[in-house]
Amino acid sequence: MTDGVFAVRVRLFGQPREEAGASTLDVELEDGATVGDLRAALAGHPTLGAHIDLTAVAINHRYASDEEHVAQGDEVALIPPVAGG
């Protein structure tokens, strides 16, 4: 693994999972990366990028703000607009 860079496995759900054809997506981030950096990394994704602004990010089962850091080993998930109940 290259110094200063790590891979995070992002969990997908709902429509994004269906469109991506996979339940996870590996994303490479730099040490010290924030949720905002993760969003930027996904902005160009062919299916996830279009609605990334409306997609929340969860780290270890809690919603995370853009300023929060993503660390190696964190469980990260993309939460598209929710529709429970």
């Binding site: 969990r11 759900f13 709902g14 429509q15 999972r17 269906e18 409306l54 997609t55 929340a56 990010v57 969860a58 089962h61 809690r62 919603y63 703000s65 998930a77 939460i79 598209p80 607009p81 929710v82 529709a83 429970g84 109940g85």
Partner: protein
């Protein structure tokens, strides 16, 4: 059946399950606590939506997180409404019209707080729980229903939700 169970003071049940929901079963869990008012809400799959005939509804959930979010919401309902106990359970997987997708039960000393708390749990769940639904039609097509952007805490914190 995958079940995530998170409990706290006053929160008797807060989870998601792939098994058939039984509101009466959840109510029995609350009965023993003793109070003046019991409110039970059941969300059921309708056979129509937006003028279309619906043959099924598929619920997807981030189960590990959904259980925690439901527990948080139920705990908030206890704190803000002063109710004695709350139970909330959401179903995942494929349901047909008439089936129960959500049950919320609240036991409280008085009815005002019981109604308030039940309403709070349902509205907050729809705003924050990582759960999604896909509607299925008679012609074989299906659509993921529009949701609400999540990522916020309790409504009081000023989030637009």
């Amino acid at each position: 059946m995958t079940e995530v169970r998170q409990e706290g003071p006053g929160v008797v049940v807060a989870d998601v399950t792939g098994a058939t929901l039984d509101g009466a079963d959840l109510v029995r869990t609350l009965q023993s606590r003793g109070a003046g008012a019991l409110v039970v809400f059941e969300g059921r799959v309708r056979d129509h939506n937006d003028g279309r005939s619906v043959v099924g509804l598929h619920y997807d959930a981030y189960e590990e997180m959904a259980g925690q979010v439901l527990a948080d919401i139920a705990g908030e309902a206890v704190d803000r409404s002063g109710v004695a106990s709350v139970a909330v359970r959401h179903r995942t997987g494929s349901l047909v019209p008439g089936e129960v997708s959500l049950v919320v039960g609240v036991l409280a000393p008085h009815r005002d707080q019981a109604f308030d708390a039940a309403r709070y749990v349902v509205e907050e769940l729809k705003r924050r729980a990582p759960i999604w639904k896909k509607e299925e039609y008679g012609d074989g097509t299906s659509i993921w229903l529009d949701g609400r952007p999540a990522g916020s805490g309790p409504a009081e914190r000023g989030d637009s939700g």
